[in-house]
């Protein structure tokens, strides 16, 4: 078991805590965009797919690598666009500030 593995394990452990910590207080209205946003982030497997395709030396590796790049690209692109489309609609309305009570809406 090399030092590299230990280093990766360290990063892994610490990231678990970061992952839990940063979303612990998300309001429920943002659950879906958050799910969709993190879906886009694991699309980073595109970088891994490119790496294996870039190293491919046999036909089998080329085919699988190419397939992986396509799937991962779908994940990344689709993930970010869908999330953006959801969040586009969460714009606060300019005329009524959040702090304003319901009374000013009723006109």
């Amino acid at each position: 078991m090399g030092n590299a593995l230990l280093q990766y394990a360290t990063v892994f452990m610490l990231t678990i805590f970061v992952g839990v910590e940063i979303i612990a207080k998300v309001p429920s209205i943002l659950h879906t965009p958050l799910m969709s946003g993190s879906n886009a982030i694991h699309g980073v497997i595109l970088v891994g797919s490119m790496t294996i395709l870039g190293a491919a030396t046999t036909n089998a590796e080329e085919i699988l690598g190419f397939l992986a790049v396509i799937l991962a690209a779908l994940n990344v692109v689709g993930g970010f666009v869908v999330t953006d489309r959801m969040l586009e609609m969460f714009k606060p309305k300019a005329k009524t500030p959040k702090a304003g009570s319901t009374s000013e809406v009723a006109k």
Binding site: P33, V77, G78
Partner: protein, 465 residues
Amino acid sequence: MSRVTLIDLIYLFSATTFVLALKGLGSPKRARLGNMVAAFGMVVAVVATFFRPVDGHAIYHVPLMILGIVIGLVVAVPVARFVKMTAMPQLVAIFNGVGGGAAALVSITEFMHIKASHPATYVALEVLLGVLIGTFSFAGSAISFAKLQELMTGRPVTYPGQQVINGVVGLAALVTIGWVLVSASQTMLWVLLGLSAMLGVLFVLPIGGADVPVLISLLNAFTGVAVAASGFTLGSNLLIVAGTLVGASGLLLTRLMSKAMGRSLPNILFSAFGATVTASGATERADGRSVRSGSPEDIAIMLGFASRVVFIPGYGLAVSQGQHVLRELADLLESKGIEVFYGIHPVAGRMPGHMNVLLAEANVPYEQLVEMDEANTELQTADVALVVGANDTVNPAAVDDKTSPIYGMPIIHADLAENVVFLKRSMRPGFAGIENELLYNPKTTLVFGDAKDTLTKMVAAVKAS
């Protein structure tokens, strides 16, 4: 500084943007910016990868790589951009699935690539986990997609001996993992791929359509873990950080979602919730109580006399695409000095936050959207509760009937208002497949028909009065 170091620094930058993005997604104001920051970090990482040598040489197959990315762009952008809002959950499912598939392929290919150099056992283990979890997520997401897209029944699929069969397949997968660890057999790796896909399918089949959003969140977390496993195999900190972030936050998110439904995660995953339809679907019951129905015009009059109205939207509103008309009705009522709120149940619709997204599309100011607890306070003094295409989220059985499958789920107490109006397509029960007592409540009036049509008629009637 060598080129590899520089590129690894760029990867560190990208990993940081991912953390910031998830943080940003926690608040409505910064969420969109956060998503863009992550997208930027992703583009930077992908571009940098073209320049990063592998195995001591510049990367091969650059044109093929670009072709693959272009295919992804050409297919995903229009799909993601133009698919109807109601289809959002299945889109998330399918994009998650392909990510899991990619992670599994990366793990397999890397194993083929390094096999000749007899990798250490722990490397093989990382590969196997990547294949198992990635493929599981791919197959599970595909079935979830089929359920949400109504390519297959949304009800739980159950058969005798289900748990036993799942157990056997799971055990077979574990045995295969052990086999590959000992023998480094590539053939068995493909067997594992098949078993993982089967496991994914079998796992998702008994989960009812209403619970699928929670399931997608779980599968999303799984894909994250698969990506992290690939990161271990490839020795990439970027993949480990991004995958683990998604895995950890995804699991927490899954728990938060199931909590919002008032149920435990194991209950959602293994109880085949909603398999049996206990509701009769008749307008008259054995004990002689029947429902009262009214016309859109009757309701318009009722609304005209109200001073405070709470709308309770559900999936039916999304299906009929009536959100714009609903807002028009709200605007009309407000112009008559009537207070209007939208009471939003956290799991109304087919995904948490579904209603918020839907109503935001119709430009409903989010100050008018009140969450469940606040809605229940408002309802105490409300004259009319207008339930638009919702059912299970207002079902009092969740509070009083211990035998009900949804017992314990927090609900919006529509029955607190003076009058309750249901806009329903039919007497068909909600997604959970259980009868709603509130329909038979003397306070309740039902208006049958498509929600959008009914709302349009109500708007016309309110205008005329």
